[in-house]
């Protein structure tokens, strides 16, 4: 959607507290004196960035949880107490902490914990697919718009605005409606929906870096544009993109869960947390716990991605 053409009425901050800080602060002056060969911003990917991130305890906890989810996705088959599809009609609707079923069973007597574990892999793979696609669709136009500017920039931003102005789920329903239900179709839709995030962030990073001295220097000695983009701009644009990756992963998880809940994503007998939620809802009177666990699984995963993404963003830090 379009933002108003005027700038907002915010003045430059910094009260002059004499004696403790400089009386007048100016806009951050980048190390203009730095030799062009050593891209000054490369430090962002180097030690200080990582050190700051590691010191952020909450972000580290979030990262640990994400890694935990990945590990579960890999070894899930071996550690699940039951096969996720094993039905046991006699033991249907068991509550949590019943004998043999830590989180209870569903309407067909299938063990909830095992199904949650199996769904973990599906959720993560789906999120990765959506992410990968959206980066594939989004980053190149962002690079183009930022570097080339003018007409290309305008065109790309118009389309991005249009796509972002649509409610994400509506787009997804439209695409799935045309293509037909199915996890891969749903992920295609999500890839398209989240691409604008990457277009914007890449474009912003390129715009900022384009005026940097080291790029000027490369340009002045005649380095071809694509080389400049690949070797200089991309590594320095990486941190904000990483932040976006973490955040979009969270969005993708939620979106996939919504679609699966409605029956348009994952198809039975496969299960994702979203479809478990959708199915469980039908039996909310008999066994409310069927709804609680998948929902918490989604929420915790999204929380972890959000918190880690925030931590990434904080440790990159703009030099203000």
């Amino acid at each position: 959607m379009t933002r108003p053409p005027m700038t907002r009425s915010q003045a430059t901050p910094t009260p002059s507290t004499d004696g403790v800080a400089p009386a007048v602060a100016v806009e951050p002056v980048e190390a203009i004196g730095a030799p062009p060969a050593a891209a000054p911003r490369r430090r962002l990917l180097g030690r200080p960035f990582v050190r700051r991130l590691v010191r952020n305890k909450i972000a580290m906890v979030a990262l640990a949880y994400i890694l935990f989810l990945i590990v579960i996705a890999v070894i899930g088959d071996w550690i699940a107490p039951y096969p996720p599809d094993a039905q046991d009609p006699a033991a249907a609707f068991l509550s949590p902490f019943s004998s043999g079923h830590l989180l209870g069973t569903d309407q067909l007597g299938r063990d909830v914990l095992s199904r949650l574990i199996a769904a973990d892999r599906i959720a993560l793979v789906a999120a990765a697919q959506a992410l990968g696609l959206s980066m594939l669709i989004g980053i190149p136009p962002g690079l183009l718009a930022g570097y080339v500017g003018r007409f290309a920039d305008n065109a790309v931003m118009r389309v991005t605005d249009a796509v972002q102005s649509l409610p994400p789920l509506i787009i997804a329903l439209g695409i799935v409606g045309a293509l037909g239900p199915g996890l891969s179709h749903a992920m295609l839709a999500l890839g398209f929906i989240f691409a604008p995030n990457f277009v914007r962030i890449t474009r912003a990073a390129v715009l900022e870096l384009r005026e940097e001295t080291f790029v000027e220097a490369s340009r002045s000695i005649g380095t071809p544009a694509w080389q400049i983009v690949l070797r200089r701009i991309v590594p320095n644009a990486l941190p904000p993109v990483l932040v976006q990756v973490s955040l979009v992963a969270g969005f993708a998880l939620t979106a996939e869960a919504s679609l699966s809940l409605l029956g348009f994503g994952v198809q039975p007998p496969q299960a994702s947390w979203g479809s478990m939620l959708g199915q469980g809802y039908n039996f909310i009177y008999q066994q409310p716990w069927l709804v609680v666990f998948p929902g918490c699984a989604i929420a915790l995963a999204v929380l972890a991605f959000n918190v880690f993404g925030d931590g990434l963003r904080d440790s990159i830090g703009r030099r203000k």
Partner: protein, 317 residues
């Protein structure tokens, strides 16, 4: 101010044009022969031909688009393939419900988010601020439909305070309408509330650091006045305009929340359409929601222009 509005209106056109293109191209996404796929597995040759005819699928794509666009501009999106009713009519029928949900959610967002954001900023790094940080993070992570289900379990099933599902139009019984709409609006409104609170906190912290706040203090104004009059007036602009963004997300989220609460709104219509591969209906819904979002964003941008003295005054002079 008038010129600002006019200019802003013009911006809607290219966006809607692109949206119409995207919308139309949905038919192109249908795998295989669209008429066959849409008609379904047990369709007869006559049914397939009827669909092909109705959607004009044997014409060149460009012609199809122009014809579709032409009809769309007059408000004709064709008839639903499942009900045979005009698409626009079906959509308009469901509109009031969706609007009450979306508006209610945003109201909840403001009621919860604004005070929280201000309180957190005023005592920066204090207890309230930390709590808000945690609360906002949680609010953002909880899917709205999950919150809805939890609310149903807790409030409706366990406590019995409110009905779990269903909907009553406001004209029939306002009290009942309210009783049915409160829970879904809370479920939908939590995420926008979290976003709003965070944004407002950030904006307030920046505003409170500004020189003009120091001047207001120096003039001897009471702290309350400084915070709520001087700082807030400047800080509130950005979060308020963010409500426009949130509207789009709320519309999307309402689709699932309607299912959870059994509310017959636009979302339910959309889901039906997808299940039946009802392309004209889907196209209509896509264009329609886009139009609504554009309208809300237009309103938001206009009110921003009015609130920001630089715009209001500069354009007028």
């Amino acid at each position: 101010m008038g010129r600002y509005v006019a200019r802003r209106l013009l911006l809607v056109i290219p966006v809607m044009l692109i949206v119409s293109l995207l919308s139309f191209s949905l038919i192109l996404l249908v795998p295989g022969d669209p008429a066959v796929t849409i008609a379904g597995q047990s369709a007869t040759r006559e049914q397939i031909a009827a669909i092909r005819d109705q959607l004009g699928l044997d014409r060149p794509v460009v012609v199809q688009y122009i014809s579709w666009l032409g009809h769309a501009l007059t408000g004709d999106f064709g008839n639903s393939l499942s009900t045979g009713q005009p698409v626009v009519g079906s959509i308009l029928d469901r509109l009031p419900v969706m609007l009450s949900l979306a508006a209610g959610a945003l109201v909840i967002a403001v009621i919860l988010g604004f005070p929280a954001g201000v309180a957190a900023a005023v005592r920066r790094d204090g207890v309230v601020d930390r709590l808000l940080g945690v609360g906002a993070a949680t609010g953002l992570a909880l899917p709205s439909y999950f919150v809805g289900m939890l609310l149903i379990i807790l409030v409706a099933l366990n406590l019995g305070w409110l009905p779990p599902t269903g909907y009553t139009p406001i004209a029939t019984d306002p009290v009942d309408w309210l009783a049915h709409i409160v829970l879904p609006c809370i479920a939908l409104g939590l995420v926008p509330a979290a976003v709003l609170a965070r944004q407002l906190r950030g904006a307030m912290v920046t505003a409170l650091d500004q020189d003009y706040v120091r001047t207001a203090d120096a003039k001897g104004l009471l702290r309350q006045k400084v915070v709520y009059k001087h700082a807030l007036k400047n800080a509130a602009i950005a979060p308020l305009t963010a409500l426009g963004t949130q509207f789009a997300l709320v519309v999307g989220g309402s689709v699932v929340v309607e299912q959870v609460f059994g509310i017959p709104g636009l979302g339910a219509l959309a889901i039906n359409a997808v299940q039946n591969r009802d392309i004209p209906l889907i196209q209509g819904i896509v264009v329609f929601t886009a139009l609504m979002v554009q309208a809300i964003n237009l309103l938001v941008d206009i009110s921003y222009g009015w609130l920001n003295p630089r715009v209001r005054v500069a354009v007028a002079r």
